[in-house]
């Protein structure tokens, strides 16, 4: 898309007229993702093209962020060992995240 205000990470999801925080790296399911400080984990993953965050408990169907305000719990992931809704958790450099599927 159009020129972004920063060198990386480019994603058409990110509106270009927004001044974001510093670059951070997080790991989701083994994959390293670059994001900006202040972004929620759900938003950072969306920008990286990752929308499926867990599987539902009964039908084992893919789920991702839905309400974006911490109510529906569909975007729950495990961040550094703690289950949290990804839409209400800000990215932190070095954060290690796995899908929130309950084994």
């Amino acid at each position: 898309m159009s020129e972004s205000q920063s060198s990386s990470p480019q994603s058409f999801h990110r509106a270009t007229d927004v001044e974001r925080g510093g670059l951070v790296r997080i790991v989701f399911d083994g994959r390293t993702i670059e994001a900006y400080a202040g972004e929620s984990v759900a938003a950072a993953l969306l920008a990286a093209g990752i929308r499926t965050l867990r599987a539902s408990p009964r039908a084992d169907a893919p789920r991702g962020a839905f309400c974006w305000m911490g109510i529906c719990q569909e975007c729950v992931i495990v961040a550094d060992g703690v289950r949290r809704p990804a839409c209400r958790l800000e990215v932190r450099d070095g954060m290690v995240i796995t899908p929130g599927t309950v084994p």
């Binding site: 509106a15 927004v18 925080g21 900006y36 408990p57 289950r83």
Partner: protein, 474 residues
Amino acid sequence: MTDETDLIVVGGGPAGVEAALAASERGLSVRLVDEAPQAGGQVYRAPPRAFGAKSQQKADRLGVALRDRLCASTVQTHFDHIVWSVSPGYRIDALGPNGAVSWRARAVIAATGAQERVVPFPGWTLPGVTGLAGATIMLKSQGMLPGGLTLVAGQGPLLLAVAMGILKAGGKLAAVVDLASQAEWLADWPAIASRPDLAWRGLSWQMALRRAGVPMLYRHAIREAEAKGDQLLVTLGPVDAGGAPIAGPEREFLVDAVTVGNGLTAATDITRLLRAGHRFEALRGGWVPERDEDFRTTLSGLYVAGDGAGIAGAAAAAIDGRLAALAVAHDLGRLSDETYQRLTMPLRRKARKAKRFGTAMAKLMALRPAQVAAIAAGTIVCRCEDVTRGEICAAVREGARGVNQVKAWTRCGMGPCQGRICGDIIGQLVTGTGNARVEAGYFTGRTPFRPLPLDELAPPIAYGDLQLPPPAPL
């Protein structure tokens, strides 16, 4: 361990902040608690602190003003705190960045706002389908587009707001799909025009969308969405005034994302938990706390304000918050009857005016029962527990009475969202087969309000340290 204030306000949106400010202006000691990092609620949500000055400047001016006034006040604020329980007396339990806290207060104002309702369709659980309110958070707070090409569907004022937000952020729109007809918007025009600023904004958005060549489909709804690789194939079709699908040409759109919403419902966690009285008001978002005109609930010391007391919009919420705070001050003996009357009179007048616009919007956002009646048997209604419409209706046929029995039999509403997403729809489905909506009831409030990591609530336990009573002799 706990230290008591006159008042605790739960919720930092326009209602909660105005309530906290008004109470502190009357000399009450006040705490304000909210789960967000900053005040503003969903409507004036602040950009993340780590975002640069340019982004901060773009925040809604009303929100900035609200936060500035709160900062300059004596209100003790506790952001990033999730309230997970409120007990009689009143005691508030919350989990914050430094662990569990609990406070006591003589009065509580629940200003917990609203949550979005989405009428289920096959495929609404697919990643890439999000709520309209969710899309506004993505756009306004995160500066993030839901997808490259997005379809916006549902009903009410959020449709235009989200569509416009996507265009402004550089995204593309496949279509805007409105359950209402154009005539329905026009019918409410006098009430809408009572807020010329908002009416004008709505009109200019509509013109901008037309100029951008975005198809606007009225009296249409999503029939289903299907995953096609990373994209979604969405089928749309015409509906009648009640929201039921009718025969007519269906259209398909292959899109990257779908945002859809069918209005708002009041967040009533606290009043339901404390077993306050509630009444069903379809035009206020469904089940709302029973209250008098001064926002007293049926429980002494418990007040409500804002959309959590019944959907009426941000402008009405701000005034209602002030009225509720004055009622608290009066009831705690800090305002004479006379002063109370003098202070509330002009506010009540303003409230009536604000409510006119809010009511027009609430009408456009109201649930259309025939749309719910048309949900297919195989469609998931409760997302948390993957419970289908067919399973819910089978439970009703087998004799389950009311939503709580349906919950016990099918697990619908028992998952981590505690029925906040599906509750209004399940109530309508249970009603659809005979009971009146009032008989169908609402999900009983339970703690914790949100799923919480237990080890953050309590210190680690060594089982050896537990004092167990000696076993009874055999």
